[in-house]
Amino acid sequence: MELFVAQLLNGLVYGVLLFLMAAGLSLIFGLMNVVSLAHGSFFMLGAYLGLAIFKATGSFWLAFVLAPIPVAGIGIVMELLFLRPLYRRGHMDQVLLTFGFTFVFLDLVQTIWGRAVLHLWAPAGLHGIVHIGLGVFSAYRLFLIGFGFAIALVLWLLLERSRIGAMVRAGVDNAIMAAGLGANIPALFSGIFGFGVALAALGGIAAAPILGLYPGMDSEILIPAFIVIVIGGMGSLRGAFVGSLLIGIVDTFGKAYFQGVALFLIYLAMLAVLLVRPQGLFGIKYSDASVAPAVTTTSRPASLQTRTSELGVLVALLILPFLMGDYPRALVSEIFIFAIFAMSLDLLLGFTGLMSLGHAAFFGLGAYAVAILGTQFELNAWLGVAAGVAIAACGAALIGFFCVRTGGIPFLMLTLAFSQLVFSVALKWRDVTGGSDGLTIAEQPSFFGFSLSRSLVMYFMTLSFFALTYWVLRRLLNAPLGHAFVGIRENEQRMMAVGYPTRAYKLLSFTIAGAIAGLAGGLYAIFNGFISSDAIYWTASGDILIMTMLGGAGTLVGPAIGTALFLLMKNVVSSYSEHWLSIIGAIFICCVMFFSGGLWGAAQKLQWRRVAK
């Protein structure tokens, strides 16, 4: 009984921390339609700045009160300078922009405070334990629960009972009308963004004595906070509160009583809720129509000219390896593999208008198929690749079945949650997957009798799969099926009205994309000789999203160019500077700000303009 109550309290503590994150995320989404992936970074910054203030002043409470202020300032500056110019564009650019900032903030924290886990002790007054009727409990944890509930109450009063709260709700309902009645909407946006960021920072400093401080704490709170919002309903404060406590308790009890499957329980809870109420417990029914995809580049049928240039590029790629050494050959091989991965995502993102933040799951299925079948059943790696493609396709069909019921931001969150589910299987099922230690591929296969240990053979192997994928995708996109995908991207309702079962088409797109990602994963396992759960963490999905958007979603060439640039930058910059995270983040932020449609998209626009003249 005592253990049960203790677990319940721990669950409430975790729930309260999640609420501080989810409340801000939900408010920001409700008012501004922005999903901020940087929200976890603000949680982390709050904790670290709190530690700094504590070290300078020696007072925990001063840190507790002061730390959120500078973090909110950072958040407001980010909103003013970077998010504001993007409001006229779609959600995708905003999500990507905030993802770029997670790189910068992570690097900032690692540079200033290092990578080791740091500690911030609970204040002296709350150090001890408290005896209440049912047992002994940590005073700080009890304080946190009370504090969290108090914050929830204050937020509710502010939102429901104050005039400023009514203004926020009016802005959520209809920001354009509110502006016509005197609401300074831009100021309201900045204010709410800053307020949400301050709540996240407060969560960070409150969590520090319990969870410790380490780079990576940003993602570890962000993902469950997203699940809370999906469960509670986007834009609902009540949903954020109920969802937080639910996830906090389910997760804590899962870890205490069902250790093996604890990680899955919150995903199962999410699935259960979504099957019954797709809009979340307290959410308003989400209409797909309000999600305008940002990608507007139209694919054009290949003209003779592009055929010639494609052939030219192929010839160049065939000559290229003879001009370079082993290391660059390996790098280009890796680029080919990730370009396949990026093109598969582009089928979904650029051509069907569905933004997935969980595409690495299918890459992982393909890679693990090769590794596991090879080590457990001594299956030939090529058969492993084939099996991986099939498994990834099945996985995508299954996951897609749930995801394609939504669109826009809910789709993004669902794919993220599912991929984290796959990630936790890879992490926890150590006997089979090796967890974070990973698996080594038993034997490298040969390619038409040539050994893949030679870099030249690896180069031609990956090049042939890259060319094959490119050719297949281009055929598909120029076929009626591809046009149907683009039609769904442009206007799903109209496609429905002219007789296309759009959900089935979206599922097909998702499945094909998953299968091709599985191919990329299988090739990666062969190329790398090793696969671990790190390769399918959610940031891997984010990276491939960046590569695709960097080059230009909605074109097949763009993702390949983006992949090449990203991997070259990563390799070149990381060999010169420890701050490659910041540099890539900054370059990416600039690309989002100034090259809507990616580099290739911008180049095409320039070319069309010249042709038009």
Partner: protein, 233 residues
């Protein structure tokens, strides 16, 4: 008090308004008439700051207001009643009225909740209801009442009679007549000619983004050509 001087407006690249000019004097009701797509709503959205005139000038009480955002114009004394009524569905009727209310210059002419409820008794009974629970007529009343709670000096109404039962339209006409008697200047976009004739002092008829007739009620009533070419269905 309001002078719109040769404004042009665009949606993206399409040129909608071609040099529209009109003026409103204190206490005057000016109607904008015309068929669907003539540019009436675009004109009112441009006056309200949702669209930028390029080029063109808008002066209000002698001050150049072109380029100001909508919220600044609301604070300067514009009361906006849009075509879709723009009721906040998750706010109560009372909150809809009070959330952006601004105090007037005091005195008997200033709008307060009791005076609003006296003008629209139906809203008083519904004040705890949420915005989405109202009928179309109640929503229109609430939208007008909400604009009045800003204590505006100029009221901009976009087709307040649209989609409403004749008896409700009659009530709204009476409300507008009373506001006119109290000296409020009004710009009224209408397709319902009898409503426009009942309250309007001067009328502008629009066609294809231009004003093709300007004149008093008597002049418009006599002008068969304009009535037939630009207004009859």
């Amino acid at each position: 008090m309001l002078e719109v001087d040769a404004i042009n407006a665009y949606y993206g690249d399409s040129h909608i308004l071609h040099g529209v000019s009109l003026s409103v004097r204190p206490g005057e009701v000016v109607c904008l008439l015309g068929r669907n797509g003539a540019g009436k709503t675009t004109t009112i959205l441009t006056i309200m700051g949702y669209l930028q005139p390029r080029p063109g000038r808008i002066r209000y009480k002698g001050r150049d207001i072109a380029g100001l955002p909508p919220y600044a114009l609301a604070r300067l004394g514009f009361g906006f009643v849009p075509q879709e009524r723009g009721i906040f569905p998750s706010l109560t009727v009372r909150e809809n009225l009070t959330v952006f209310a601004r105090t007037g210059r005091g005195g008997a002419g200033s709008w307060t909740l009791p005076r609003i409820f006296e003008l629209f008794p139906a809203l008083q009974a519904r004040q705890r209801n949420l915005g989405f629970q109202l009928s179309g007529g109640e929503q229109q009343m609430l939208s007008i009442a909400r604009a009045l709670m800003l204590n505006p000096s100029l009221l901009l109404l976009d087709e307040p009679s649209e989609g409403l039962a004749p008896i409700i339209v009659q009530q709204i006409i009476e409300v507008l007549l009373r506001l006119k008697r109290e000296g409020l200047a009004i710009v009224l976009v209408e397709q319902n000619l009898s409503a426009a004739f009942a309250v309007g002092d001067r009328h502008h008829v629009m066609n294809k983004g231009e004003i093709c007739f300007s004149g008093s009620t008597a002049q418009l009533e006599r002008d068969d050509f304009v009535l037939r070419e630009y207004l009859s269905v």
